[in-house]
Amino acid sequence: MKVIDKLRNLNKRALIAVTVCITLIVGIVVFDAVRKSSEYSTTTVAMGTVVTLRLFGPDGEENAQLVLENIDETEKALLSRNEKNSDVDRINSAPGTAVSVSYETAEIIADSLAVSKKCEGVFDITVGEITKLWDFGGENQRLPSDEEIKERLPFVTYSNVKVTDTTVTIAEGQSLDLGAIGKGAACDRIKTLLSSTNTDSAVISVGGSLLLYGKKDFTIGITNPENSQNSMGSLELSETFVSTSGNYEKFFVENDKKYHHILDATTGYPADSRLMSVTVVCDSGLLSDALSTACYIRGYQQSLELLSQYNAQAVFIFKDKTVRITDGLKDKFTLTDESFVVAE
C-alpha cells in the first residue's frame, strides 16, 4: 500500500513523462523487431544474368550479401568456363588429364551427365565447342556454317567424361559448358547457405531460375513467351526450385529465321520444338534447369517419363498457345492471360 500511496502522490507531469518514455521505448523495440523480420530485397547482375533476392527474416541485408558472395563463388571458383582458374576452366584447359576439382563441382558434373544419359544426350554439357561457335548473347554471336558444326559434333559425347569424387577428365577435343545448369546449381548452393543463416524464408531468382526457401507460400509468375515483361499464369508453390527454358530469352534473327539459344546437343542446332517454353518444378535447382532444357528439346510426350523419373512437374507452353500441365501442378496453376488455352 505504501508504494501505491507514493505513486499516487507523484506529480501528474511526471506520470505523463514516464508514460511517454515507456511508449517510446516500446515503440522503438517493436519497430526494431518489425524491421528485422521484414523483407530485404535487391537486384544486381551476377553470373552474366539478373539476380533478384527477396529475403524474409532478420539480418536481411547481411544475409543477402552472403548470398551474392556465394553466387560469385559458384561462378568464379567453380562453374564458369570464362573465369581463369575456375574448376571448369581448368578441366577445359587439360583434356585427357584427371583434373582435381572441388567435391561440389565433381558432383554437379556427375549429376549433369546422369541427366544426359536419361535424355539420350539432347542435353549434354560437353557441347562447349559448339556453344562457342554460336556465342549467343556474346560479342561473336553468329550463325556457324554446317561444316563448323559437323567438325565439332563428334566430340559432344557425355559418356567420354570421367568423374570421381574429386577429379574430372574430359576427352581430347571436348569442352564443358555448364551454362544450362549453372544458375540452378547456384540456387542449390544458396539453399545450403541459407539453412545456416537466420533467414525465415526467401525467394531468389538467378536469371529466372528460382529457389523458394522456407515455410512461406509463394506465387510464381510464368513469363508470357510472347511478351516477357508479363506473366501468362502463376503457380502457388512452397520450398522448391523452378526453372524455365524458352525460345525468347537469347536469340538472333538471320535471313528471316530465328535462332534461339537452346541447342539440341545431338544436332548442334537450336532445338526445332513445337514449344515456346517449359517450366519445371522439382526439389533440385540443377535438375530443374537441366530438365527444363531437356524437356524443351524433347517435346511434351517424350518428356513425361523423364520428368517422372526425377519426380518433377512441368508446365509446357506450345507455339499455338496451348498449355499442358503435369498432374502434380494442375491444382497449383492459375491462368492469368486468357489468350492461352489450358489443354485437358
Partner: protein, 121 residues
C-alpha cells in the same frame, strides 16, 4: 482500495498510445507508388517515383546506356551492346518488371510485386 490511476490518467495514457500509433500510419499506406530503382554494378544509383514524374527526360546511368523516364514508365532507350535486348524489352510500367543491360551491368526494376512474388523465365 484506492486506485493507482485516475480516469484522467488513463485517458492521457490512451491518448499517448493513440498518437504513437498515428506515427506508423504513413508506413502502412505508402506502398502504392510506382517506384523504379536503377542498379549499376550491383549498387542502387537512382530511385525514381514514376507517379511523380513531370515531363519526359532521359539520363545515362553508365557510359553506353541511356534510360528514358516518363510519368508511370521507364525504359532503356539506348544501349551500345550488340543484342539490344534491354532496349527491345520496352517500357516498364508495372511492379515487379525488370529490364537489364547485362554487358553494362545496369538493371532497372520497378519495386514491389503485383500479383506474383517472382517471375520464372
Amino acid at each position: 482500495m484506492r486506485k493507482l490511476f485516475r480516469r484522467a490518467d488513463i485517458i492521457i495514457i490512451i491518448a499517448v498510445l493513440f498518437l504513437s500509433f498515428l506515427l506508423f500510419i504513413p508506413n502502412l499506406f505508402n506502398n502504392d507508388s510506382l517506384v523504379a530503382s536503377v542498379y549499376v554494378d550491383g549498387e542502387q544509383t537512382e530511385e525514381i517515383n514514376l507517379d511523380k514524374v513531370e515531363g519526359d527526360y532521359a539520363f545515362s546511368p553508365k557510359k553506353g546506356t541511356v534510360i528514358s523516364v516518363k510519368k508511370g514508365a521507364i525504359c532503356f532507350s539506348e544501349a551500345t551492346c550488340r543484342d539490344k535486348i534491354c532496349v527491345d524489352s520496352g517500357w516498364l510500367t508495372a511492379k515487379g518488371q525488370t529490364s537489364a543491360c547485362l554487358p553494362e551491368r545496369v538493371v532497372i526494376t520497378i519495386n514491389g510485386t503485383d500479383k506474383t512474388d517472382m517471375m520464372t523465365y
